[in-house]
Symmetry: C2
């Protein structure tokens, strides 16, 4: 039996490896259009922050290991151009520019996502970068080694933008951040995003929200970004304005698409063609709170979906619950975490949400080193169900969010969550964990 | 209506405060045999580690605040000697040595627990201490300020013993630890407790497990602890060999007792007398995994139970799920956390448990500053239910345990837990959280 995987990153290589482990006689071919497989993309901002590290430190497993140790037919610089569902084959162009056609019994589309680049002149100029694949990381690393950069402009203010902002500041580079929409982190509660804004300003980051990029031009060694009412000169421009799913192949093949043009899959990761699976950043998922389809591209889901595809391709019966949208990032001294829905999402999913924002401490009364934690928590008024949590603080945020994520998977009420026996010791928490304090407050509003 | 509370610590003052808030016309009297109310007992080891802090920093709310701001009739140095259930009154001795008798409509017994002191000669000598109440903390603080201590012997190796061990080492005091049972932390998986042992040895702590204390004598300015086959000379001996519930009043009044002679209460915190409640370290609880009664005295439960009593006394209908036995402590560089059952407890509760111990990293692949995390996870083979988790590591343990605690409250299977959307970012976690890695491994054994 032939299992073909398009795309050799998290979802694709997880699927290929596990399928081969599950069923060694399976013929597994991975077609990767780039040079890199199996690397920690999320580690790139941290790698870039450290001039003494090589970008290739982030490679988790090298291509030869997949080929020689695992018996996977891994083909780099093989681009798939079309899926022929009737003939059950993929057609593409190999690393020597020659056309190829390969038959599949089962196919996985794991084509990932691509950076959204604003439709303005000059985004292809030298000194203008995106950051998604390892080759992007290498380009930025090389550039920073060649150019003694003093100033960077980042288009976008999402997770990657903020992580890269921190990386640039760690390298002593001044940073201005620009985005067309007027709000820093629109999914976050304003009281929480204000904390992040304050920290960014303390770190001398210039924020320009509500500013529309218009064009990029070279000016000597610098790049000039012209915006609505603003102009920036910098050594480099990083475009980190979000990503979009690489679903073109699937669309052309007539597969059903889901939210944000991601590839629609069921809980078994099957597309609308039962021989074709999709996993990773290119595909959608069920949201465990709303039961609706969402496109929330995150690394854990990609790995988990890859495994599930492998199990289903090799005779198993894997089915995934879905995602809670749990995410965490670090920005300077802050840990920022979120799971579930914000108020707007809750309303549009048909809930009647109420919210609280509480301030608590990261450690016990009178324990040295304590700092503030802000918790947003929302629940559905009629049912009392927990709907979402967001947290910001200097410590004790990144892992605390997980207990709320588990509660969301279980459709717990705030009342039930408020009864949970969470850990307490003075160096780590107040007696009432900040999440319990939020739950206790929220109960009063229900 | 008269609500009388015996004991002015966590459970007692939580109940008194909330009852008065719920129903301002309620007459609330708290009878506390000591001098202190409402302090962070768990903070004492950290306070003792810092010679520049006063023990009274740990007072959360002073007696006058309860009296003047909250209208609670708080009586210090009032010892209750008997409960007259037929006459609905408590009888005792006041702060001037005079007998008193007070009628109650509702009574809360929140008498806490007392240190277990081995029945050996010399435990009452100067230089021999226990640590439970704030007055104990003051005694040790005063002694350490008077005596330039070089060496301490701790009888016991539980949480308090280990926290005090760290405190003594922070003060430059040599520490030997002694206990009769041969195992350091018998509830913990051996592979995890070995990590703790290694760290203690690295910190030059001498461990003598399986050594029975026989007597304590003065020898000049020192105290000499004689044990089976060992003798220790030290500036002080700390007895931290566990605690027992203060249930004598309840027993004398004919109330039903639970495990370890704690006071038996139902989910509403009612004792076998419906007018009498018990809460805090003196009372038992349902274990959410087994459904059976346990005595696991911890601060969060005490506070939560105090609140529930207040609600029930003032016309509400509070009912508590119970405890998962979630606990965390810090010992030198390690975070140690546990929730649910170990293998022995699981077996004796009628489960057919299987376990894994896995080693994972605290941060992502190639992320600087990563360290090892060891996770023990157990499940019931027939049902697949998660039964217990223990973790040890230098970071990322204390709050991670909470997601497992929530899962235990929900009677989740390992399969369901393994699907949870937990947070990932390189500074905080591998893509697969250590708990997910443990769950994935454990699934193979189910």
């Amino acid at each position: 039996m032939k299992f073909i995987v398009i795309g050799g990153d998290a979802a694709g290589m997880s699927a290929a490896s596990r399928a081969k482990r599950n069923l060694p006689e399976l013929e597994v071919t991975v077609l990767e259009q780039g040079e890199d497989v199996s690397y920690s993309a999320c580690g790139m901002p941290y790698n870039l922050a450290d001039p003494f590290r090589e970008m290739d430190d982030l490679v988790v497993r090298r291509a030869e290991v997949f080929r020689e140790k695992q018996g996977i037919d891994l083909r780099l610089r093989h681009r798939v151009d079309a899926i022929d569902r009737i003939g059950s084959s993929v057609k593409g162009t190999d690393n020597k520019g020659r056309p190829f056609s390969l038959y599949y019994d089962r196919l996985l589309i794991a084509t990932g996502a691509s950076p959204l680049v604003p439709q303005i002149p000059g985004t292809d100029l030298p000194g203008v970068f995106v950051l998604k694949g390892l080759h992007h990381g290498r380009q930025i690393k090389d550039y920073l080694r060649k150019v003694h950069a003093h100033k960077a402009v980042i288009i976008g203010m999402g997770y990657i933008a903020l992580e890269m902002c921190e990386a640039f500041r760690a390298l002593g580079i001044e940073v201005a951040m620009v985005k067309p929409r007027p709000v820093l982190l629109p999914r976050m509660h304003k009281r929480l995003s204000e904390i992040i804004k304050t920290v960014l300003e303390k770190e001398s980051v210039e924020l320009f929200a509500g500013v529309e990029p218009r064009s990029i031009e070279k000016e000597g060694d610098l790049v000039r970004l012209s915006c609505s009412g603003q102009e920036f000169k910098a050594d480099l421009v990083l475009v980190a304005a979000g990503i979009e799913p690489n679903s073109g192949l699937a669309l052309d093949a007539g597969l059903e698409l889901g939210p944000s043009n991601s590839i629609a899959v069921d809980r078994s990761l099957r597309t609308s063609d039962e021989k074709i699976f999709a996993a990773g950043d290119c595909s959608d998922a069920y949201h465990v709170v709303t039961g609706r389809k969402v496109w929330i591209p995150l690394a854990l889901r990609a790995n988990r979906a890859g495994w599930a595809v492998a199990d289903n391709v090799t005779g198993g019966e894997a089915s995934l619950d879905g995602v809670a949208g749990t995410a965490v990032f670090k920005v300077f001294e802050l840990e920022v975490a979120t799971t579930g829905l914000n108020m707007e999402e809750a309303k549009s999913a048909g809930f009647d949400p109420v919210e609280v924002v509480i301030e608590s401490r990261s450690r016990a009364h009178a324990h040295a080193g304590s700092s503030n934690i802000l918790v947003y928590m929302a629940a559905d008024k009629p049912s009392g169900r927990l709907l979402g949590v967001q947290m910001v603080g200097r410590e004790g945020v990144a892992h605390r969010i997980n207990s709320a994520a588990v509660a969301l998977h279980q459709h717990m009420t705030v009342e039930a969550f408020s009864q949970c026996d969470l850990a307490y010791a003075p160096p780590f928490s107040p007696v009432w964990d900040p999440l319990l304090t939020a739950a206790n407050q929220l109960l009063k509003a229900l």
